[in-house]
Amino acid sequence: MTVLLDSTDVVPRLYRRIGLGLRGGELDTIAERSPSDAVSALLDTSIGDDPWAGTDYTVLPGPAGGQRRRLGLLAISAWIDALVDSEQPVDDWLAWFWHGRFVSALTEVKNPQFMVDQIRVLRARGRGSFGELTRAVTIDAAMLLYLDGNDSTAQAPNENYSRELLELFTIGHGAYTEDDVAAGAAALSGWRIDRSTGDPQLRTRRHDSTPRRYLQAEGVHDVNTVVTAIEHNPELAITIAARLAAEIVGPQLDPAVIVRAAAAFTAANLNVDVLLRSLVDEVLAGADGGQVVSGPLLWYVAARRATGAKPEMRDVFPQLRAAGQVPWLAPNVSGWPSGAAWNNAATLVARFALAELIADSTPADSVALTAGDRDQLARALGITTAWSDTTAAALDRLDRPRERLVLALVSPEFVNC
């Protein structure tokens, strides 16, 4: 596909949207490369080191609330730090993206190790076959606990996972019937995890193996046939392409972009990397769906990458919580809101507090603090759009680098990308 735009605008935007944000001064490095080289450097990676290597986060069932909380926060911290430090940011961004789609929450899962293992699945499989990702997530320990598959039996199937698999995780509302939900629940019944290891096992006496009609397919009776039926549903590629496109191209994009990307996704047997590259190519060719509002977590990660800051997590957590976005603690099974929802008062106020924490732990020699004027400050933070008159006027009221950095981090120019 022809590259029309220069690397000072659209490429940095991609680094922010799917690459977790530029590091201080990295904008200049990108500008020296051709757009295709810069994009290749972003995309041609393979997954990096395990963020949780060497630590066991297992909390066995029981009244261990304090330990569960402590280990849970440690494991979440390790993931956030890994996002900040990632040298393979697209792979790690995709894991975060899938975490917001295939949602599980520590509040229900209880054992932090199972959440760690689920994110490992998302990291390992998030850029490959969507079908294989879905098969793995369906019998993942955290998911079996979060959406009650662990307790679903042939005698009394639990519909929780079956419904959300169709409505939220794959083909979307309107593409299935209540009969499909019931048939899916039966076909997925019988899975139990080992509570100490998380290993899933199919207990045949609890499993309803009756072949059923499901999404226009006949003979569906287990995880594999359920997911195969979903893979063959024409709504799937469109739904997944649309979700990813909203993050990469922008929320108000041309539907034709989604159609083209979905076609490429389908032709590649639902390979996520192909879908991702197809959407990146659309952006490079000029597709523009408007600005993406960074949710609190990715914004926080981008701010740390840009500044080199590392605030104390004990200070950060309450503010991320107030902002409305802590990993593993999504408000419900649909994940987090997006777009203008992040413009609410609670989030604005919490972003301010987080920006102060970041500024206070930014190394003194960071370009984010040594920038001379506001244009240098913008470049230091990877901002390629011009400051608005409003932001410029607000910045000009401040003299101290620390205050100017705080304001720049919460400005629309940095929050939106």
Binding site: N158, R163, F317, G324, P331, P337
Partner: protein, 476 residues
């Protein structure tokens, strides 16, 4: 695709934000000496900030810092009612001519605590109606061999019905006896949807079958708004609140009251001022923080807690309704408070979870009513519950229940004139194994908006809800 549409319209604007803020603040007696609103546009906030910092340090508890000066002349608005002398006058004494009160707001002195307040408590996840208000029939026990509550454990209702309340709701007994609770059974839209998010869209928009655009409370705010409205006229406590989404009216969303502050020790006033200049939403958020800053700390959980439990065992309903009561006492211009809690999606191990959730609901409501009574605001406040659906009649294999159709809701306040039970949960007349909807949620909304507007059927209500809906029999 976003199942929780944003609470704020991204393109909504507030004219001359900082100037407007300064004007409002000035009117409230905190910026005396600032002659020109234009001049106050930026310095005003700094002055306000300094004043607040000073005030905050001397505040042991909530004081009158946020209250407007004593009122000597009623506003035009208040003059149309007969309730200006007392905040606890019940609606039965309110003449029907007050129906247009909310639409005739005009500039003038702010009257403390006469306008009515609606509190909406959303029990997210789909509260199990059958184990909340329990029908005293054998079919209930047949459908739920593990989950059914024993008849003798139920809280008896003071009015003659064939239902009893979950024992965890016992703290509501005094309110029941006082005739301040109405029970609405079999609530649901004609075309119910077992998807959380489709069902929530219907409840939030009150416009089933249409793409979500604005919330029912947002439309009421738009229909009754004026240039003079307070930043905290409508507030969402506990998360994203699409019910408040409006074309123009802004609402303030607050999740963690303890964190809702821009005044850490390291913060300087110049930075706060500059921050508030970034957008109208920033300016409004700043003003809102000053009101909340005066509230005594209430328990809140930390990440990783069990849902609905803070460090002291206090649940989200209780915590957030405490904040709501403080807000109603502190800000006389607040009209709508939407409180969101979750956890009611009880697919598994429902008995213990539901017990804990309902205990929190009961404690929260009982405490809330006591608090607003103590602050003299009980007479002007109505609380209604919502929940996207009830649950399946038959229990599943996990000791829980899956998504169903009709649910049960509560209407609570001193303003109820004939508290009772309306509707039905008929286990002999099910719809696909679910309770059949017999009362449209918009009947609850219509009654609540009528109440909010002064107490009688109103054209504003019907316009907001897109037509006339039958009112509940709890109000005259």
């Amino acid at each position: 695709m976003n199942p929780f549409p944003p609470p704020h319209s991204p393109d909504a604007t507030r004219p001359e934000p900082v100037t407007a803020l300064a004007r409002r603040v000035s009117r409230r007696g905190l910026l005396i000496g600032v002659a020109s609103a234009a001049a106050a546009s930026t310095t005003g906030i700094a002055v306000l900030y300094a004043a607040r910092q000073t005030s905050r340090s001397t505040l042991a508890a909530r004081t009158s810092i946020d209250r407007p000066p004593a009122v000597t002349t009623p506003s035009t608005n208040a003059a149309t009612t007969s309730t200006t002398t007392t905040a606890t006058t019940t609606p039965t004494t309110t003449p029907t001519t007050t129906a247009t009160t909310a639409t005739t707001t005009s500039p003038g002195p702010i009257v403390a605590g006469t306008d009515r307040v609606l509190v909406v408590l959303q029990l997210g996840g789909g509260n199990d109606a059958l184990d909340t208000v329990v029908p005293l029939v054998g079919a209930y026990h047949d459908a739920r061999p593990h989950l059914a509550l024993a008849d003798e454990s139920l809280v008896r209702l003071p009015f003659g019905t064939d239902y009893g309340l979950h024992p965890a709701l016992a703290p509501l007994g005094a309110l029941l006896t006082a005739g301040q609770i109405g029970i609405v059974a079999g609530v649901g839209f004609d075309q119910p949807d077992r998807s959380h998010f489709k069902a929530l869209d219907m409840w939030w928009s009150a416009a089933p079958g249409e793409t979500f655009r604005t919330g029912w409370l947002g439309r009421w705010l738009d229909a009754t708004t004026s240039n003079d409205d307070a930043v905290l006229r409508s507030v969402g406590l506990g998360g994203s609140v699409p019910a408040l989404r409006a074309d123009t009216a802004q609402s303030i969303g607050v999740t963690e009251v303890e964190q809702f502050s821009v005044s850490s020790s390291a913060t300087d006033a110049a930075l706060v001022t500059a921050w508030s200049m970034l957008s109208p939403e920033h300016a409004a958020a700043l003003e809102a923080t000053y009101t909340f800053a005066g509230f005594p700390t209430v328990g809140a959980g930390t990440p990783g807690d069990e849902p609905g439990s803070g460090p002291t065992g206090t649940g989200d309903v209780t915590t957030r309704l405490r904040t709501a009561a403080q807000l109603i006492a502190a800000e006389p211009r607040t009209r709508v408070v939407h409180v969101t809690v979750g956890g009611f999606d009880t697919h598994a191990a429902e008995a213990a979870t539901h017990q804990r959730l309902l205990a929190d609901v009961a404690q929260g409501i009982a405490e809330f009513q006591s608090a607003i009574e103590a602050s003299g605001n009980a007479g002007r406040t109505l609380l209604v519950t919502t929940s996207e659906f009830g649950r399946r009649v038959v229990e599943n294999g996990s000791g829980g229940t899956d998504h169903g159709k009709a649910g049960v809701q509560f209407v609570i306040g001193q303003g109820l004139t004939s508290a009772a039970f309306t509707g039905a949960m008929d286990l002999s007349d099910l719809a696909d194994g679910d309770l059949r909807p017999v009362i449209d949620p918009r009947s609850i909304y219509a009654s609540a908006l009528d109440w909010l507007e002064g107490g009688s059927a109103s054209g504003v209500t019907d316009a907001v809800l897109g037509g006339p809906f039958e009112r509940l029999p709890f109000f005259f």
